[in-house]
């Protein structure tokens, strides 16, 4: 069934056997692989200068391309944009996989594009290829950050080196965001659509456990997709979750409480477990290893506090007050400072007190920058005892900045009246103020 696209079109020049193997390894990607094979043509024929393949994460872009090129034994160089932080590495990898060591040795220390093209031409004139050479560039979106002319050159590399070479660009972004402002050769765009639910089911069911029947595993995948499909269509993530929770699913069968066909019972057993996994494992609150351990020792799932619960930080006394002052300065408008922090501020007009009908609260808009003076003024007013403005106070401010609890908005060089923002959450600051017995809610304009 999977070799339908093979039978429809003849692909002369490739072995029947290797085509069958390719078809086996590419479930649910027949149209795409068939199209690619169609574009590649016969081994001797010239391929397109550039094919741009795009699709979401885990939609099988690299997999299809790599399987095709590997099984059909075409000369190819697979390069990842993330690895090649400079064009030099890219050139080296391409030359290495096409022509071997001596071509790499011929590259000068910091090769330019023209060096690469020159050496490529030299070597390909010596060893002319019987087959199309393919350069596969994964994460091609990172190429845009490199030399401005690199991408537009790679797109028409076939012309430049006068060789039967084809460049495949793989990316999760669309070509519209790649196009250089000066224009370039338009590659052929090939889209890899997302897997549907049925396709995901088909692919996930393939790696079944040997000691259980295929239907049993398929029903497990069905349940898994029913829980997770709404939030996650990433094949890799789903496969990971499936592997992680399968032992829990098998438990009733292993203990003899249920049979393999007792679907309802099994579903009742696994469903709350999977829901818990969504909150913990899927968000990486608990690592996969801990999750497996927890299942082994039959602990109640997630009694453990995850990563995000560790939000308590020990700080010095004045640092706490400094942070509180920064928080108040960031989230309160400056015109309300007098009303909150001046002890005897004379007669108060009632109209000033009333909270104006504001559409959004300051907590939704995010922190606002404030000058150092304002923060210190609030600090002196919230700390009850007299504090001398010593060097230690100021060094605590700068260390709060390095701890990333405050961020400096103004330039680092600016020494007089620097501006800061508070970068901690409401929960964090409430916990801090509780430790110093300070009721912060009373001083926040939003909660008046």
């Amino acid at each position: 069934m999977s070799s339908s696209w093979l039978q429809q079109q003849r692909h002369p020049g490739y072995e029947e056997e290797s085509l069958r193997r390719v078809a086996e390894q590419l479930p649910c990607r027949e149209p795409q692989a068939g199209m690619l094979l169609f574009l590649m043509g016969e081994p001797k024929q010239y391929s397109l200068p550039c094919i741009f393949i795009y699709g979401h994460r885990a939609s099988g872009k690299s997999h299809v391309v790599n399987i095709l090129l590997k099984e059909l034994e075409t000369p190819h160089a697979t390069v990842s944009g993330a690895e090649c932080i400079s064009a030099t590495l890219l050139f080296q990898q391409v030359l290495l996989s096409f022509f071997g060591e001596d071509a790499v040795a011929a590259l000068p220390r910091s090769p330019s594009l023209s060096d690469f093209v020159r050496i490529y031409k030299q070597h390909c004139s010596r060893a002319t290829a019987e087959q199309t050479r393919y350069i596969v560039l994964e994460k091609a979106e990172l190429l845009r950050d490199m030399d401005a002319n690199l991408l537009s050159t790679l797109v028409r590399l076939q012309e430049l080196v006068e060789d039967n070479v084809s460049v495949l660009l793989l990316s999760e972004l669309v070509w519209d965001t790649f196009r250089p402002n000066t224009g370039c050769l338009e590659p052929l765009l090939l889209h890899f659509p997302d897997y549907t639910k049925a396709e995901l089911h088909q692919i996930l069911s393939r790696d079944r456990h040997p000691s259980y029947s295929a239907d049993f595993y398929a029903s497990y995948i069905h349940i898994l997709l029913g829980v997770f499909y709404a939030v996650c269509r990433d094949l890799r993530e789903l496969r990971h979750l499936a592997a992680l929770n399968f032992t829990k699913f098998c438990e009733p069968v292993a203990e003899g409480k249920a049979t393999e066909s007792d679907t309802h019972k099994l579903w009742r057993h696994i469903e709350p477990h999977l829901k818990k996994a969504m909150q913990t494992v899927y968000l990486r609150e608990v690592s996969s290893l801990e999750w497996e351990k927890m299942q082994e020792v039959e602990m109640e799932a997630s009694p453990l506090r995850g990563l995000s619960a560790h939000s308590h930080v020990e700080l010095p006394f004045y640092s706490k007050f400094l942070l509180i002052a920064a928080y108040l300065a960031s989230y309160n408008p400056a015109r309300t400072d007098k009303r909150f922090f001046v002890k005897h501020h004379g007669k108060i007009k009632k109209t000033n007190f009333l909270k104006k009908n504001e559409k959004t609260s300051n907590h939704l808009l995010g922190p606002k920058p404030f000058p150092l003076d304002r923060m210190l003024a609030i600090f002196y007013s919230v700390v009850d005892s007299r504090v001398a403005p010593t060097a230690s106070i100021f060094s605590q401010i700068s260390s709060l900045v390095t701890l990333q609890l405050l961020t400096q908005v103004s330039h680092v060089d600016q020494l007089d009246s620097p501006k800061y923002k508070c970068a901690v959450s409401m929960d964090f600051i409430c916990a801090i103020s509780r430790t110093v017995n300070f009721d912060i809610i009373k001083y926040l304009y939003d909660f008046l």
Binding site: R144, V174, D176, T177, F178, R179, P180, N181, T182, G183, E186
Partner: protein, 533 residues
Amino acid sequence: MKTRQQGEPLRKLKNFEYGAAEVDNENAPMLLVATLPKRSKRKSAQLVSSRIKKQLNLLDDQPKPDLDTEDEEEFVPSNTALYSSSDDEEMIDGDEGELARKGRRRRMTERLPPRSEKSPSAARTCRKTRSKKGESDTPRHGTPTIPSRLMPAPQPNYVLEVARTRLHVSSVPESLPCREQEFQDIYSFVESKIIDGTGGCMYISGVPGTGKTATVHEVIRCLRNAANADEIPSFHFVEINGMKMTDPHQAYVQILEKLTSQKATADHAASLLEKRFSNPAPRKQTTVLLVDELDLLWTRKQNVMYNLFDWPTRRHSRLVVLTIANTMDLPERIMINRVASRLGLTRMSFQPYGYKQLQQIIMSRLNKIKAFEEDALQLVSRKVAALSGDARRCLDICRRAAELCEHAVARTSVARLVGMDHVMDALNEMFSSSYIASIKFASVQEQLFLRAVIAEFRRLGLEEATFQQVLIQHQALCRVEGLQSTGVSEVLAVCQRLGACRLLLLETSRLGILQRIRLNVSQDDVLYALKSD
């Protein structure tokens, strides 16, 4: 050495001979010498002509026909044989040569339009350029630097082709019309410095194509002739061009290499030159240094310029520096005070040519060949004078018009002169902007997108809009026009294509639909181009 110096005027003589041949189709050198001074009022030319007279008298006494052939061989690099036979034929005084010439003339007249009786002119131009090659800037080491042709240059066959070769920018004529005053000023400046044995600076400015470099070269050539005739002391001439250097400090290296053919690093060359120009030396010759494209020698500390202008002020330097740049206020604009003051106030600005001057230049180039209509020439020169006064531009347009005329003649096989219509076509080709044409021939969607951009600008009252705003207009326009609405990706591709043609100014494509769009052409131009279809 001696023979060479004698040979120079001889070759000059031959040039004039052909000038004469052109006048009345007969070799009458004596007659020509009498007419020559009328043609040029220039002092140097007069000097030259007097020298020619002397030589001619010498020749009359003892004619040495073998001498000049030898000279030719000495001067023209190895490829003499490659040049077409015409030159060699004319070298032989005798019936054969005469016969051959006549034969050729007969051949030519068959092909030529009936009006042209000056067929030997073709041979003449050839001779002219060749004689100049022999007279290269450094006669002492006669190694030619221009690679020699493998094939002989094609002979211009008929009038239009002759006109085209003469109008080429590279064929600088012997005498530069309309620059007599400037020539005189520079000549007298340099000559006085050479005779006095002192140094000095001169700053020459003018917009491109006004004949600055050509005039200076002409001055140097005349001075060299004078030096060869022992009228003034001999001198070195060194030319550097700021554009031909990778780095301003390379100026030192090039000057040193041209003076002493010695290679050194920039620093070392600077110190060597410093020593050369500040120490007295017996039998020191004056050095004339021509610095073209001076503004490119600018460095942050300006030490290259400072040295170039400081050396002439030394007591023993005997250095004359001629600097050429485009802007008149360059010393005030980019030079610091101590450099500008060393440059001094000897300045000269070349005014752009007026239309009469341009006409005169073309006439002198054509040299009485009847290839252009009077009105056509006037139109070219008026148009160019109104725009820039660039002689190069003027010559280019004339050549293009001659080409167009040639095509027309080849098509219709009706011989005619270059007329108004050809000149108008050439002018349109050269001066019209391609933006309007490119909008006219853009695709439907591209035109629609431009229309959408203008509609959005009108709505906003601004000259800038984001892509998504324009997209809404575009889709509305599509609906109005009854076209199938296109996807965002296609419209984005259309927009980026227009951006790549520089009809639009775009931000980086990474911003996607948020990128802002500006027009690179005026709205009126776009509307004009869109309306006309």
